[in-house]
C-alpha cells in the first residue's frame, strides 16, 4: 500500500515539473500597462484616476444628477490636477529624447490651490509664460477640451456657459490678495483694481487658511463654503460689551467720554455644516 502511494506521488511530481511551469504573478494585471503616449494618440489620462479615487468619481457622478452641485462636474481629473503653465507642475519641465515630459515638481498630479485658477492675479502676479509654456498651448492641457470634443471635457478651459477668453468670469476677488505690484502689464487691463478685501467678513478666514497647512493655500476656506464637505466650526464670541463712561468736568464745562469698550461674556458654540 505504501509503495503504491509513493509511486503515485512520484508520477504526479514528475508530471507537475513538466506540465505546470507557470508561476502566479503577485498582482493580477500588473503587466497590462496603461498608455501615456499622448503624441501617438494615447490618452493623456491613460492612467485612470478613478481606479484609486472612486469616492471622488462617485461625487462627480452624483453631481451630474444634482443641478445645485454642477460646477466642475464636466471636468476630467487632469483639468485641475494636471494644470500647467502655473509653475506648479511639469508644464515647463525637461523633456526626454522623444519629447515626453518627465515631470519635475510633480509626476502624475498636483494638489492644487483653488486660487490657481480662480485668483485675480493671472499667474499669481507673475508675467505670463511664453506661448509654448502657457497652459493653453500645452499638449497635456488639450484634453481639457481646448478645441476638443465635448465628450473629452468642456470646449473651453473654463467650462460652459463661458466661452472664449473667459477666465475673468471665474475669478474670485474681494479678499485683497491681488498682487498689484507685480501685476503683468499684459493682463493689466483685465485686473480688478478695487480688490482690497477691506470689507470682507471672511477675510481672516482666508488669511488664516493660507497660513494653515491642512490644505494647500486658502483651500480650507474655499472648501468650507463652496463644497458640500462637512465643516465643524467652533465659534468663541463675546455676547456683550463693557463700556467705560467718564464724565469730564470743570465748573463751567462738562462732557461725556467713552473711555473704553471691550468684549465680555464669551461663549463657545459649535456649528456643523454639511457632511
Amino acid at each position: 500500500m505504501v509503495s503504491k502511494i509513493l509511486l503515485a506521488g512520484i508520477i504526479i511530481g514528475v508530471a507537475g515539473i513538466f506540465a505546470l511551469p507557470a508561476t502566479v504573478a503577485m498582482f493580477s494585471g500588473q503587466h497590462m500597462w496603461y498608455a501615456t503616449d499622448v503624441t501617438s494618440g494615447g490618452s493623456e489620462i491613460g492612467v485612470p484616476c478613478e481606479k484609486c479615487h472612486p469616492d471622488i468619481a462617485r461625487e462627480y457622478q452624483d453631481a451630474f444628477l444634482h443641478p445645485l452641485y454642477a460646477p466642475h462636474k464636466t471636468y476630467p481629473c487632469s483639468h485641475c490636477h494636471r494644470i500647467s503653465g502655473f509653475g506648479e507642475n511639469n508644464g515647463t519641465g525637461t523633456t526626454d529624447w522623444d519629447g515626453r515630459r518627465l515631470g519635475n515638481q510633480t509626476h502624475a498630479a498636483v494638489t492644487l490651490q483653488c486660487m490657481d485658477c480662480h485668483d485675480l492675479n493671472y499667474m499669481f502676479g507673475r508675467p505670463p509664460p511664453p506661448a509654448p509654456d502657457h497652459h493653453m498651448h500645452n499638449p497635456e492641457y488639450a484634453t481639457c477640451g481646448w478645441g476638443g470634443p465635448p465628450e473629452r471635457g468642456p470646449r473651453n478651459c473654463h467650462a460652459p456657459p463661458r466661452t472664449g477668453d473667459n477666465i475673468a468670469q471665474i475669478r474670485a476677488g474681494g479678499f485683497g490678495l491681488t498682487d498689484f505690484d507685480n501685476m503683468s502689464t499684459y493682463y493689466y487691463w483685465k485686473t480688478w483694481p478695487d480688490d482690497t478685501g477691506e470689507e470682507a467678513a471672511h477675510r481672516e478666514f482666508v488669511l488664516d487658511a493660507l497660513a494653515d497647512d491642512t490644505l494647500k493655500g486658502a483651500n480650507e476656506a474655499c472648501i468650507a463654503c463652496h463644497t458640500e464637505s462637512r465643516a465643524e466650526i467652533e465659534f468663541t464670541v463675546p455676547t456683550g460689551m463693557k463700556i467705560t463712561v467718564h464724565n469730564t468736568y470743570t465748573q463751567t464745562q462738562s462732557h461725556w467720554d467713552i473711555i473704553n469698550i471691550e468684549p465680555i461674556r464669551y461663549i463657545t458654540y459649535r456649528e456643523v455644516k454639511g457632511g
Partner: protein, 419 residues
C-alpha cells in the same frame, strides 16, 4: 483552541486579499469635490450652514425677521461689489467677496434704504433720526458722544457699538464715573460759591439674552436699564426719615400755597405736576415715557396726545431741541424754564420778593455752570426732601433766596438746604 486556529487561518487568508484588491485611497475631506453652484446672480451659498446660531437669534428678534442674511451682509448700497455668478455678468468681488460686516447706518443713514426682503417685498429701512445726518446731526443728541467715540473702538464696525448697545440683546456692563456731590451758597438769588467734590463710580449690569442678532424695536428700549442710577435716584434715592426720601432728578414745582392747593400735585401753571412722581407711583411711572417728558418732548407729545392741552406741549416742544435729536436730548433745566420759555420759572406769589424769575436766574446758571451740575443746582431747592415740613422759615428761600446747599449726585440724591 480550534476556534483560534480557524480564526488565524481566516485572517491570514483575508489579509492578502485585502492587500491586493483594496487599492482605493480616501480623499482628505469627503464631499470636497461636490461644489455648490454659484451660476445664478446673487448668493447661492447657504450662510446658515455655518451660521445657524445667528439664524436662531434672528428668528427670536422683534424686528428684521423679514430680512435674510444677504439683505444686510450683501447690501448693495455701499458700492461694494460682491462675488456673484460664474458666467456672463459675473463679478469677482472687490472690497468683499461673499459678505461684509455692515454698519447699521449703511441702511439707516441718509434717507434710509429700500430693501427687498425674504418674501420679495420692497421694505424701507428708516433713517436713524439725527444720526443719519452729516456728523451725526446736532450736538443736542445725548448719545452723540457715544456714537462718535464708538468709532475709536474695534469691537464692532464703525459706530455699531452704540447701535448694538441699545438696539440689540447684547448684554452690557456700563461703568460710569462722574462727580459725587456739589455744594453752593445762594445769597439773595445769586450763587456766591460753588464747588464739586468726590467721584462716583456706578456700574449698570444689563443682562439680556446675549443675542447680537436679536434686535429691539425703538418702543422696546428701556432707558433706565442703562441709566439705572437715574432710576434708583427717582424711585429709591436715600431714606429721608419722616420727610420725603431724597429723590433727585424729580423736581417738585413750588406750589402757590393757596388753600386747596396741594404742594405735591399742582403748581402755579395750574396743571397736574409734570415732573414730580408721588411716592406710590414711582415704581411704575418711572419708565421710558417719563424720561421722554424732558429728554424727548417730541416723542412724549406724540405718544401722549391727551397731554397736549394740559401741558401746552406744542409750545414746550418748540422750546426744546427734541426735533433734532436721536433718542434723547441733552438738556438743561433752562431749556424749558429759562427766561421767555413756555414754562419759565414762576415765583411763589405768596412770599413776595423778586424771586428767581427775575434777573435770568436760570439762564445764568446755564451760562456759568457745566451742564452736568445744572440739574442738581436746581434740585438743591426743588428736591422734595429738602423742604422740611412746618419749618416756619419760608422767607429764607422763597423771598430772600438764601441757602447753603449740599447735594449728592444720583443715585443717592441726599441733600441739605440750610442757612
Amino acid at each position: 483552541m480550534r476556534r483560534a486556529i480557524a480564526l488565524t487561518l481566516l485572517l491570514t487568508g483575508l489579509a492578502p486579499i485585502l492587500f491586493f484588491t483594496g487599492s482605493d485611497v480616501a480623499t482628505l475631506l469627503q464631499s470636497q469635490h461636490t461644489f455648490t453652484s454659484i451660476s445664478d446672480p446673487g448668493n447661492q451659498i447657504n450662510c446658515t450652514g455655518c451660521h445657524s446660531q445667528i439664524e436662531s437669534e434672528l428668528v427670536g428678534s422683534l424686528i428684521h425677521t423679514d430680512l435674510d442674511c444677504e439683505d444686510c451682509h450683501r447690501f448693495n448700497g455701499t458700492g461694494i461689489t460682491f462675488a456673484s455668478g460664474d458666467g456672463t455678468g459675473s463679478t469677482p468681488g472687490n472690497r468683499s467677496h461673499a459678505a461684509y460686516t455692515p454698519r447699521c447706518l449703511d441702511c439707516h443713514g441718509g434717507n434710509g434704504a429700500w430693501i427687498t426682503n425674504r418674501t420679495g417685498r420692497l421694505v424701507h429701512a428708516p433713517p436713524a433720526p439725527a444720526f443719519n445726518e452729516t456728523d451725526y446731526g446736532s450736538d443736542y443728541s445725548a448719545h452723540k458722544p457715544f456714537v462718535e467715540d464708538s468709532l475709536n473702538f474695534e469691537l464692532a464696525r464703525g459706530e455699531n457699538e452704540a447701535c448694538l448697545a441699545c438696539h440689540t440683546d447684547w448684554s452690557l456692563d456700563i461703568e460710569y464715573t462722574y462727580f459725587k456731590s456739589i455744594e453752593y451758597t445762594l445769597s439773595n438769588w445769586k450763587l456766591t460759591s460753588f464747588s464739586y467734590t468726590g467721584e462716583r463710580e456706578y456700574t449698570a449690569l444689563i443682562e439680556k439674552s446675549d443675542a447680537k442678532h436679536r434686535f429691539i424695536a425703538t418702543e422696546g428700549i428701556t432707558c433706565v436699564k442703562c441709566h439705572r442710577n437715574i432710576y434708583d435716584a427717582l424711585v429709591n434715592g436715600t431714606m429721608g426719615g419722616t420727610n420725603e426720601d431724597y429723590l433727585t432728578h424729580a423736581p417738585i414745582e413750588i406750589s402757590t400755597g393757596k388753600v386747596g392747593h396741594r404742594w405735591d400735585t399742582d403748581n402755579p401753571w395750574n396743571h397736574y405736576r409734570y415732573h414730580y412722581v408721588p411716592s406710590l407711583n414711582r415704581a411704575t411711572w418711572v419708565n421710558r415715557s417719563y424720561c421722554y417728558e424732558c429728554h424727548n418732548v417730541k416723542r412724549y407729545a406724540e405718544e401722549n396726545p391727551g397731554d397736549e392741552m394740559t401741558y401746552d406741549l406744542d409750545s414746550v416742544r418748540a422750546d426744546t431741541n427734541s426735533e433734532v435729536v436721536h433718542a434723547a436730548e441733552a438738556l438743561w433745566c433752562q431749556t424749558c424754564h429759562g427766561d421767555g420759555k413756555t414754562k419759565e420759572v414762576i415765583d411763589n406769589p405768596d412770599h413776595g420778593g423778586e424771586g428767581h424769575s427775575k434777573r435770568s436766574f436760570v439762564d445764568d446758571i446755564k451760562t456759568n455752570y457745566a451742564r452736568t451740575f445744572h440739574g442738581d443746582i436746581c434740585m438743591g431747592c426743588h428736591e422734595a426732601a429738602v423742604h422740611p415740613p412746618m419749618s416756619g422759615r419760608c422767607s429764607r428761600c422763597h423771598q430772600h433766596g438764601n441757602a447753603d446747599v449740599y447735594i449728592e449726585s444720583e443715585p443717592t440724591g441726599y441733600a441739605e438746604n440750610t442757612r
